[in-house]
Symmetry: C2
Subunit: 583 residues, 2 copies
């Protein structure tokens, strides 16, 4: 809280000298932020094991992908007993949360990328990198088929096979078109660096094209009509960035099209930013209305042609056609073909992503891990295991459970089934004993004794609290870190398992299950205003959150080099605006 009031005071004090003062505050904040946020790791305590204990034959770990999950795995892996290979079509890690900024030149593409070879070079273990695309996973033979993605003159040598002992799948997802016709051909996506660069060129192209002589007013209007499909954080941030770019920079340079520019945001649901707090949603909707960004909710896109986008309103079969100059499609994620193919192999056909257990191991596979956007954790239900839990807890095999008996396994249950804790929280109970008491009525204190049916009915509702994790950088990054620490401690935990009791088996699980720690989420809304939703339902909207956003995003950069580049890009934008060259 204190940090906010400082920013606010500083902003007020400097408001007569806007750009200089912003600069000063920017640097102050970011250096402050660096200290405050630099390393808020979600998982602690793991150390690398002594390499002298290890068999000389190294286990081969193959990592597919260098996005958030793959890179955080590689950064945190610290065990030279592995022979690590990385396959990715991109030889860099990209800080994707800043992609919307790249589309309008607020930040340069090169400022948010770091070569993966630079990242692994700093480690004291050898990691080999191949710039190639994996096109087939052969789990049976523990082989991965790869292909270079270059236009090569390699004499058919562009395919190769990599063997592994452990496979880490972190290939991310692709944009989801929901099979809407014309989307792939006519829309821009916003998942890769190249997408952002292409969008930037296209925005400038639209302005140049609309400025050409001999065009009708109607044609000019069409060309500078920008449509964004999807009211999630990416779509909203891009709309806001584009609005700022147009109002702050482009209208000065393109006076001929000044009054014609229109930005439309199409959302199929009732509200934009629907994963955020209601206060944020309505603030965003109001701000966009003030800014002149046209938000159209309840609007389904049914077709995209080269010049018009066809939509259908909910509860209305009529299809209306909107002429456009550029469409950006950001409606969610789909499965990559290679992952889909692998899912068929392992009989996971009816899912949108690879199902893993709570230790990120792909279900039905040996030694294959999946994390990030290509995976989803298939959390085990309490009710599935209820008999096993009961019999494990009922040590004296009396057929009933006393509170004392139960208390011995409480921690393991909570650790194994995180939904229990969430359920207790939602009911505002302190611990499981309260839950049991609740089911018996509030009369007895120590004398509760439950049989299997009572136990079942007491826990019958807890599984309702199970939620899939969102497909965000934060989740992927925490999963990468978690998995790296598991790998670092593989041998240690083999002998000294640290996880919860195996209710259906014997002994304990080797590791604690992955647990996601939500650190909050931002939604930049343009005009130096950001909405922030922090843990504990703390909502902050406005200029102060924008400074928090700057400092968090600066501190989360993967290297000091990119951190300095991003900060200097922001500074440059304050001083001299965004560049509008068509390159």
């Amino acid at each position: 809280m204190r940090v906010f009031s400082f920013y606010e005071r500083a902003s007020r004090a400097f408001q007569d000298y806007p750009s200089l003062s912003k600069l000063i505050v920017l640097f102050t904040v970011s250096s402050g932020g660096l200290v405050a946020y630099s390393e808020s790791k979600p998982y602690h305590g793991a150390n690398s094991i002594d390499s002298s204990q290890i068999d000389s034959k190294k286990k081969r770990v193959l990592v597919l992908g260098t996005g958030w999950a793959g890179t955080s795995f590689l950064k945190n892996l610290d065990n030279s007993s592995y022979d690590v290979q990385v396959v990715s079509p991109r030889n860099y890690f990209a800080f994707t949360p800043l992609l919307p900024s790249v589309t309008c030149g607020t930040v340069e593409a090169r400022s948010i990328v770091e070569p993966i070879r630079n990242i692994v070079k700093k480690k004291n273990m050898e990691i080999r990198f191949w710039e190639a695309e994996c096109f087939k996973i052969d789990a049976q033979n523990k082989k991965v088929h790869c292909r270079t993605n270059q236009d090569t003159n390699l004499d058919g040598k562009e395919e190769f096979i990599v063997d592994y002992d452990y496979l880490v799948i972190a290939m991310g997802a692709r944009s989801n078109t929901f099979n809407t016709p014309g989307v792939v051909e006519n829309c821009h996506f916003l998942k890769e660096i190249e997408d952002a660069q292409r969008i930037r060129r296209t925005v400038i192209d639209c302005f140049e094209r609309a400025s050409l002589p001999n065009l009708s007013e109607e044609e000019r209007k069409r060309i500078v009509h920008f449509v964004i499909v999807g009211g999630g954080p990416t779509g909203v941030e891009f709309a806001a960035e584009l609005h700022d770019f147009v109002c702050e920079d482009l209208v000065k340079l393109y006076p001929a099209v000044k009054g014609l520019v229109k930005i439309t945001l199409l959302e199929a649901g009732d509200h934009i930013l629907n994963m955020f707090d209601k206060r944020i949603t309505s603030f965003a909707e109001e701000k966009f209305q003030r800014d002149g960004i046209h938000v159209k909710t309840g609007s389904m896109v049914v077709k995209v042609s080269d010049k018009a986008i066809s939509t259908k309103e909910r509860g209305n079969e009529e299809i209306s056609s909107i002429p456009y100059g550029m469409v950006v499609w950001s409606t969610g994620i789909g499965t990559r073909p290679v992952v889909m193919d692998f899912m068929k192999q392992i009989n996971q056909t009816n899912r949108r992503a690879l199902a893993t257990d709570e230790w990120l191991r792909v279900e039905g596979c040996d030694s294959i891990y999946a994390l990030g956007d290509c995976a989803t954790i298939n959390q085990r239900k309490v009710m599935e295991d209820i008999s096993a839990i009961f019999s494990k807890a009922d040590k004296d095999k009396s057929g009933t459970l006393t509170v004392k008996e139960f208390q011995e396994v409480i921690d393991d249950i909570c650790e194994r089934y995180p939904q229990v804790e969430l359920y207790l929280k939602s009911k505002q109970m302190r611990n499981i004993v309260d839950l049991l008491k609740d089911s018996k009525g509030n009369d007895a204190k120590e004398s509760i004794e439950l049989d299997i049916e009572g136990f079942k009915s007491a826990l019958s509702q807890v599984d309702s609290q199970m939620k899939n994790l969102p497909a965000t950088a934060q989740v992927a990054s925490q999963q990468g870190t978690y998995l790296a620490r598991c790998f670092n401690r593989m041998e240690v935990c083999e002998n000294n398992p640290e996880g919860p009791l195996r209710f259906r088996g014997t002994g304990r699980h080797r590791f604690r299950p992955f647990r996601y720690k939500h650190l909050g989420q931002f939604a930049p809304l343009g005009g130096e205003q950001t909405a922030a939703q922090l843990p504990g339902d703390w909502v902050s909207i406005g200029h102060s959150s924008q400074w928090l956003w700057y400092s968090v995003y600066a501190s989360k950069q993967v290297s000091w080099r990119t951190r300095m580049l991003v900060i200097s890009d922001w500074a440059r934008r304050f001083v001299s605006g965004r560049d509008s060259s068509r390159i």
Copy 2:
């Protein structure tokens, strides 16, 4: 001289803290350089005329191209009595001398471009810009046919026609392949920003490709063999940049291909950098040898296939084939198709560029000017006009010329025929009178009197000093400035001509002819060493010239924004090296 010794002392003093000290010196030097070099304009004294004197019907000026010539014309044009339109396929000006730096990421592409709309916005006159390519000049009807260069969905409206009263052709040149087969398909050029970006990606691609598993040693060697064709300043600078990039940055990241990288520079002539002083040439050749850059002179390229480049040694008909991974072709410039087409229209078929007179007016055309790389000044010979000069000078029509008569026209002759001055300089004479005396023998002093034959023989050698101007940014930029000043003073000079006597006509020329002032040339050789050839045959080679290079190039930037960007790119490179991400 003083400035150099300061740099040298500073460099020596700081040599224990190389990168920090370089940074300090960089900023010191560049700010010093800014003052020293910022505006050393070659042509002075012109002012814009009062706009109230001008007819209300504005003359339409059409500028084709936004390179050095076009941009310096636009920057210096300062006469609101013109209606100015600009047509260029690129909506920005690019600082092309830094293109070789862009190829390896020493400087970012975006740091050396400035939107043309930004440049013209600052002027107090309206200039309209169309992002399009001119594909036909119709001099007869004073029309130019243009076409947008976007992949557009514009319903066939992508062509339009612009009328003009004055046409300024500044379209530059294209790379010259000398019709060598396979060059267009397999080689990289280095003329545009996009070329430099493509080269940068390809260099990284080659390193990634050579690192892939399952390749033979021979194949790896081929892929990281970089061939540069053309030993001019661009080719040499690119070779040096590439060598630095490989040695300073890439070998650390690609240990597998460390020993395999080879850079070859092919030059058809006897020496590289043959337009420079001999000392520079031999220094460069020796430095490249030390660095391991393979320089092969006297080597003509006859064919380029997708994997090998075929060369023929001079005086030897045998053709040898060199396997390569990437070829950069930088052997000189050729004529653009649209200019070639226009040259046919005006019967200038047997030339490599548009011929203009000394006032940059295209020969045989009314109101068309050409400047920069697409044009060449067809300097009029003294001997062609010798009779006209004689009769103009012989005021008393005596048939002979006295020294006194002659002295009245000396200045006009020198101004009209710059070769006269060059000839005198080469003969170490003070003025033309010495020349006349020389032809008569050194006996008489005031009594020289020449008839037409004697006059002819005295001046018979002067035309040997005529030289075409080099196709450099410096020439183009000075021509643009010159022409803008002519346009600014058009009406004033109509009434008060400031040029030399018209020897073949009556009265005086409206303007002084264009005169090029050579300010020196740099050839960066890598490893923080540059060769500089400054006017007066002053040659400087080494680290000190590198700092001069930094300060001159920083100060010559077209805007403060790009200046800061370029300087910060240099600083970033010193601190954290060049980026090797494949974007």
